[in-house]
Amino acid sequence: MSAALLEAQGVEKRFGAVVAAADVNVSVNAGERVSLIGSNGAGKTTFVNMITGYLKPDTGQIRFDGRDITALHPRAIVGLGVARSFQIPQLFGELSVRDNMLVSGACHDAHLSYWQPARRAAAVERAETLLQRFGLAEHRERRVVELPGGVRKLLDIAMALTVRPKLLLLDEPTSGVSAEEKFPMMDTVMAALGTERDTTVLFVEHDMDIVARYADRVIAFYSGRIIADDVPDKALATDDVRRYVTGELLQEAAA
């Protein structure tokens, strides 16, 4: 068993009367690929936002790589090796695809330079390697605002991987992508991550076929609580998940 890379202990978060996280306890080992599932408003993205420092828990503690990151600024958490993509891709619309990658690479440098060219050969080569890996090379000169949704999703994830993070959080990586493109897209992402499993992946997902194929483990949320935490076959078969997440039990009852 590998050591826990990410640990959340007794995490709670409320927005007024809405409970977004209630006594959330999660431990994720290095190298795992974990899917967070749940209906809209279940608390998945809130959990991701708390890990990345965008939201602070009301109570509880989040530890990453042995360090308490609960109160850290998002930038500090990024510096520790946490990267994320977004449900709605967060890109630099007026810049080219390659420049988006270059910005990503530059931001990871400890000290931004006032004179070192952003488009220097080494940086461009690094960006080009990732663009090739994600099948985005043909779009390199295009401005992001001109790109179709699926390409934007891939670019969003590629940027998060510019400097290999220890923990990668993907917020609904296949949302807004056509059904036939979902598996090829996830195949591309997983291939880009490589087989060494040196990047731990947490991904929020609504498509249970994607979850079953790409996750080692599933954590299901409902009303801010964890209702299942197991390997996909077992987690997806629990009554709570079938009732509150996939809705299968409700459909059966209605039939």
């Binding site: 630099f92 988006n100 270059l102 910005v103 931004l112 510019t162």
Partner: protein
């Protein structure tokens, strides 16, 4: 080099016009540095005036007369005085940033009007500058200041180009598009904005000092909001892509100002306004976009 040679043969009114264009253009260059990050200051008259007053006071009160040294001193003083405000202004965007900078410039204007040391509303005159210990004869002072101003402007334009093309420059452009993502990639948007504000202050201060030396006079009008507006006018006219465009736009303003104030003195702002409307409608990225496609 070409400009230096041309200056030898050009009539005095033309070298003076180019000197003013280069000096004012430096202030607008600072605005362009901020525009690349998505904010437009409406108060660069403040750093322009601080640079001018610093150079003029050093000249008159301390007896320091070297043009290059005074230009540098103007830039440094403007940066030092702007520094405490940088962290505050870096938190604001859009109209709030514009209005806060405008407020600071009008406070500077008010101080200039009231403080006796600064000459009150009339300001005060400045003598003829020297260059590296050499006191140029009266007939050559204009040309020497032309050389210094154009030389400093060229150097700072080149440095600005290097900065704009650097990793920090690219991150500034990215911040204009999406601050959230810059932060999530590990970049600090506020730091970028603060640094750009200070660089803009330095540019404005150097520009103010150089203009004062050529003009031979300083007054609170340097910090008045209409002066700041002219700098913004030039920056919008130039666009944020090309550095050379800033100085082209600044020259356009000086030419229009010079000729229209001679031939139609009461309506030259009308000509400027129409020209700006035309540029915004047909060249929304400024005249620099005519040759800068990236």
């Amino acid at each position: 080099m070409v400009l230096a040679v041309l200056g030898l043969f050009a009539p005095k009114w033309l070298t003076y016009l180019v000197t003013m264009s280069a000096g004012h253009g430096l202030v607008s260059l600072g605005i362009v540095a901020l525009m690349r990050g998505g904010v437009v200051p409406f108060g660069q008259g403040m750093v322009f005036a601080i640079g001018g007053y610093s150079a003029a006071l050093l000249f008159n009160k301390a007896g320091f007369t070297d043009a290059l040294g005074l230009a540098l001193a103007g830039g440094v003083m403007a940066t030092l005085i702007a520094a405490p405000f940088a962290p505050l202004l870096a938190r604001y965007r859009g109209i709030f940033f514009a209005m806060l900078t405008l407020a600071l410039s009008m406070v500077t204007y008010g101080l200039g009007m009231k403080i006796e040391l600064l000459g009150g509303s009339d300001g005060f005159n400045v003598g003829r500058a020297t260059l590296l210990g050499w006191r140029p004869p009266d007939a050559q002072v204009g040309y020497v200041l032309y050389l210094v101003t154009v030389g400093v402007a060229t150097l700072m334009a080149l440095l600005a180009r290097v900065y704009f093309d650097s990793t920090r420059g690219l991150v500034t452009l990215a911040a204009r598009d999406n601050e959230l993502r810059v932060e999530y990639l590990g970049g600090s948007v506020r730091q970028a904005m603060s640094i750009n504000f200070l660089l803009a202050a330095f540019c404005g201060g150097v520009g103010g000092a150089l203009v004062v030396l050529s003009l031979g006079h300083i007054e609170p009008q340097f910090s008045y909001w209409t002066t700041s507006g002219e700098f913004v006018f030039v920056a919008i006219l130039a666009g944020w892509q090309s550095v050379a465009a800033v100085f082209v736009a600044s020259t356009v303003l000086e030419v229009v100002r010079s000729f229209s104030s001679s031939y139609f003195p009461n309506t030259w702002q009308l000509a400027l306004g129409l020209f700006l409307l035309f540029v915004i409608r047909f060249l929304p990225r400024g005249i620099g976009s005519l040759w800068w496609k990236r």
